[in-house]
Amino acid sequence: MSLSQDALTQLRVKANDVRQGIIRALEAAGSGHSAGSLDMADIFTALYGSVLRHDPNNIEWADRDRLLLSCGHIAPVRYSAMANFGYFPVEELLTLRKFGSRLQGHPERVTLPAVETTSGPLGEGLAQGVGMALAAKLDKKDWRVYVVTSDAEHQCGLHWEAMMTAGKFKLDNLMCIIDRNFIQIDGSTEDIMPLEPLGDKYRSFNWEVFEVDGHDMGAILETIEKAKQVKGKPTVIVANTIPGKGVSYMEGDYTWHGKPPNKEQAETALRELQADRERILANV
């Protein structure tokens, strides 16, 4: 499957919408996680806009693909992508983290069923993905499971138990996508608890490993497509991302892990993103 230039441009514009939604939501909330949310905007757009078998108007569709966000703190990117792909009105993003909102600080399945599971406590997504993928195999169903995880979640023991299990059961209907932004709360992952060589670790657990520039829409779609063709093994995509991607003063700075932009900062961010959007459109 290769998309037309037009379709690619449309997805890039959508990713820009998703980023703007993240900024607006975080600014209104006055708390929340900027860096990781922004850096996964391209991947969430690719997933909701092209990869997933899903229907925002039929969230209980039994044959839908399952998308799990293991690192729940980057909920704003998922919420913004969901809003931009028809799950709820974009204005609802402004209720993020507020009393009574469906958009809880960390995603909750009971309040917002389309998130598939409750997350926030790190390292628990892949294991649930393994369970879902096994269920699909047992029922001989062709729906797939996508698990988005952060790099620092690879410091949690449960994630490795799940990796081993996915290898054992040859879950080729399970794809793990890693937000490899090299940051966590206290600094660089390689200073806090080194993860490299990360791809080799998956390989030795009997996974097929892919790497991609997490901000290249064409490459993201191509890599996911390639990974879907793998038979007899679970697949992982190490997505190299820049924390805070799209907002100059946040890019590469780990201190934006868990901070929202204030009013002025949000205005600057939205101005930059708007300029990006015009650039994307001009290149057509």
Binding site: A29, G30, S31, G32, G72, R97, K98, F99, G100, S101, Q104, G105, H106, E108, T118, S119, G120, P121, L122, G123, A152, E153, Q155, C156, G157, Q184, I185, D186, T189, I192, M193
Partner: protein, 333 residues
């Protein structure tokens, strides 16, 4: 300054009744300060951090005692198990994360490696309670007191303000044995002063009273004091007990409260099931049964919101305490 005495000793409490200009400091700051002092005093005191150095207030310790600081990333089970190893070689490790994850995630390691194994590990549980606010239910630990107090050998302390949290951190560093210290994220009222005594296992009567005893722990002790002031206006004399040590609980103080006042209200930022108030009920039922009302989270999960909004929503505000006290008094019959 209000001059309350207990066992002939003055408590040197802060003037707590003026809700408008009371000084507010997060209890976690007290932990951070106490940890530095403990580390400078004894180089066997270590701090082990799981990617939350700023939130847990271990940052100052990292600067002051860099050789005694260890960062291990997002791994709370490792936190406990590794600390157990360090403790068995003579170290005094403080391990910190959000209470939800440590001791939430690491419970069985705590039971086996710290308690059954009797190692000198100290858990600091940060961001406890619904007052964490916008992060929501996944990050609001309201079951941690229950899962810690049920383990034999554990000492469980929930100090009432930042100053007391500092004193507790120092005292717990010096006692030998497994420990759980619980504190909160948001700013909360300072009710004690530097001179207020603190002793592990000894509840403090912050206000004398004879009609009902409000037994509280943690940052809600302040709400209990304000509620007592309100009750006084209605002619109800309420005793306020700062029950900071949940385990081993000060049985004598609880029995005295039951006997002297004939009715009790317990107040905690925690599930009412199996928390501090439940332990009070166990003691009262066994020794001197009286009516008890329970203020806390009523078997529900938290949610996103503003901290004060959530304290009110979950029925832990001053008005709710006043109403519970009146109900307890009415039930005396």
């Amino acid at each position: 300054m209000s001059e309350v005495t207990m066992d002939g000793e003055t408590l040197h409490l802060h003037g707590y009744t003026d809700a408008t200009n009371v000084k507010q400091v997060p209890t976690r700051n007290g932990f951070g300060e106490g940890l530095v002092e403990a580390g400078l005093k004894n180089k066997n005191v270590l701090a082990i951090c799981a990617d939350l150095v700023e939130s847990t207030r271990m940052e100052a310790f990292k600067k002051a005692c860099p050789e005694q600081y260890i960062e291990i990333g997002v791994a709370e089970q490792l936190l406990v198990a590794m600390a157990g190893g360090l403790a068995s070689a003579g170290k005094i490790p403080w391990i910190a994360s959000y209470a939800m994850f440590n001791p939430g995630r690491s419970w069985e390691q705590v039971r086996t490696i710290m308690a059954l194994n009797e190692t000198n590990v100290k858990i600091a549980g940060a961001h406890a309670g619904v007052s964490v606010g916008p992060d929501g239910a996944t990050h609001q630990a309201v079951e941690d007191i229950a899962i810690m107090r049920v383990i034999p050998h554990m000492t469980v302390v929930v100090p009432c303000d930042a100053i007391q949290t500092k004193k507790a951190t120092l005292a717990l560093s010096e006692m030998v044995g497994p420990v759980y210290l619980r504190f909160a994220r948001e700013k909360s009222a300072i009710v004690t002063t530097e001179k207020t005594p603190f002793e592990i296992g000894k509840a403090q009567t912050f206000r004398e009273g004879t009609d009902v005893a409000i037994v509280a722990c943690g940052i809600l002790v302040y709400n209990a004091l304000i509620a007592a002031e309100e009750l006084a206006k209605d002619g109800i004399s309420a005793r306020v007990v700062n029950n900071h040590t949940v385990k081993p609980m000060d049985t004598a103080a609880i029995v005295a409260a039951a006997k002297d006042c004939g009715a009790i209200v317990t107040v905690e930022e925690h599930q009412i099931h199996a928390g501090m108030g439940s332990r009070v009920a166990e003691i009262v039922a066994a020794n001197h049964p009286v009516p008890i009302e329970f203020i806390g989270v009523q078997d529900r999960f938290g949610q996103s919101g503003d901290p004060v909004e959530l304290i009110e929503h979950y029925g832990m505000g001053t008005t709710a305490i006043v109403a519970a006290a009146k109900k307890a008094v009415a039930r005396k019959g």
